[in-house]
């Protein structure tokens, strides 16, 4: 059962126009009909909250992640998921060839043969003494100050607030073959499906039932500088930094979170750890020092020095 990761997140929102501008400024490409894509075709779909085409909404939370659509490797994987989930719940076969079912926490899931395209873009290249990678005469800082901000490459992960992380985890591990790669006690587990090496595509945070919903979602960037560049450009457009930039401990991903008109956070990340079956999951208390290695805060550009000395 090879699930690659989330292909598309479908949100119901109050203000479609604001959300559309926001997602385009974040760096996703508008594809029409509320769809916004990263470079590999994964992305976000926004619809008005009352759009009857959306799965029904039963939670009190203000943000409305109405559906998480997973990309799977092939048709055989879809059949396997349909068989497995069909044992104890309704599985709907949609006309576009995808499946729809609900997880044990109440989140609506979709499964489709993945839309993601394989990217051939290079990662951010750096030079270090003894190990130079960028190439001769290639500048690491863009040659022009008006260079467009780097674009999100692929949908990385989604984070759910859930009232029972054990129950939520059990569904993804026992029914969909996800593995737990690390865990914060008192908060929740980091999970990834079998079709990716990423440290996490899914994370749960234990909260009171009234908060169940989406805490944030994230796209991978080409490297740490891309996170800083994209976040800096996004903030310069007036968007509100929430947390970061910084670097997480578990997963090692660089992060920068922003508030959003979708009512949850959105993040840029880069350089997440890749793991195989020899990885031994860690457990640590959910404290600030374990959450991040370091944290910085945006400030306006500034340079030491002042105007030239006055001529006498």
């Amino acid at each position: 059962m090879r699930i690659l990761g989330p292909d598309t997140l479908v949100f119901g929102v109050d203000d479609v126009d604001s959300c559309a501008t926001f997602l385009a400024d974040y760096g996703l490409t508008p594809k029409g009909d509320g769809a916004f894509e990263a470079l590999d075709g994964t992305g976000v779909v926004i619809r008005r909250k009352d759009d009857p085409a959306l799965p029904k909404w039963t939670l009190p939370t203000a943000n409305q992640l109405r559906k998480t659509i997973y990309g799977v490797e092939d048709r055989a994987a879809l059949d396997e998921i349909a068989h497995e989930l069909g044992r104890d719940r309704e599985v709907t076969f949609l006309t576009d060839g995808s499946l729809e079912a609900t997880d044990d926490s109440g989140f609506v899931l979709g499964f489709q043969v993945s839309v993601r395209r394989t990217l051939t873009l290079a990662a951010e290249q750096i030079n270090a003494p003894g190990d130079a990678h960028r190439g001769l005469n290639v500048t690491g800082s863009p040659a022009n100050r008006d260079e467009p901000a780097p674009l999100p490459r692929t949908l990385s992960h989604v984070v759910y607030f859930v009232p029972d992380t054990d129950k939520a985890e059990a569904f993804y591990v026992n029914r969909l073959g996800f593995r737990v790669n690390d865990r914060f006690t008192g908060m929740g587990p980091f999970l990834s499906p079998r079709g990716t090496l990423d440290h996490h595509t899914l994370f749960f945070i234990q909260t009171p039932p009234a908060m169940q919903g989406c805490e944030h979602f994230t796209f991978h960037m080409g490297g740490p500088s891309d996170v800083l560049r994209a976040g800096h450009a996004f903030a310069a457009k007036g968007y509100e930094s929430f947390w970061g930039p910084g670097r997480h401990r578990f997963g090692s991903n660089w992060f920068w979170y922003f508030n959003s008109p979708l009512g949850c956070h959105i993040e840029y990340d880069a350089d997440m750890d890749q793991l195989d079956d020899s990885w031994v999951p860690r457990v640590a208390p959910a404290i600030a020092e374990n959450s991040q290695e370091f944290l910085f805060q945006l400030r306006e550009t500034w340079a030491p020095g002042g105007p030239p000395p006055q001529q006498s």
């Binding site: 939370t61 009234a210 805490e215 509100e240 929430f242 959003s260 008109p261």
Partner: protein
């Protein structure tokens, strides 16, 4: 040891500079995050510290000055969607339901300037 905080009146803008219905944030400390925001809706004028009671210190807007919902009926924290009454800052839905935004004292000076009683470090 940091000096104890003391509140002082700070003139932040002219009343006419505020939209008749809307909000405006002020970064008085120069930290890159608004310290407080004003909300005006007709005759109603209120000021609150920009900190969500759910996660104190968390900033509310999704964009500079974007503190309200689309029809300007509530203040919204765009971290997790908590909604607050404009007139008293009470959270009516969301993770901090029943808690209040911290109000700041306002006064109109010389009939046209809005001043806020802002806790500042000396």
């Amino acid at each position: 040891m940091p000096a104890p905080a003391a509140a002082s009146w700070v003139r932040v803008c002219e009343l006419d500079a505020l939209p008749p219905t809307g909000a405006r944030g002020f970064d008085l400390s120069g930290n890159g995050i608004d310290d407080l925001f004003l909300v005006r809706k007709g005759e109603l004028l209120r000021g609150y510290i920009n900190s969500c009671p759910h996660w104190p210190g968390a900033s509310l807007p999704w964009r500079k000055h974007a503190y309200l919902d689309r029809d300007a009926s509530h203040i919204v924290c765009h971290g997790h969607g908590a909604r607050f009454a404009i007139d008293d800052g009470l959270c009516i839905s969301g993770p901090c339901a029943g808690q209040y935004l911290q109000a700041v004292m306002l006064r109109i000076e010389e009939g046209r300037y809005v001043s806020v009683l802002f806790p500042m470090r000396r």
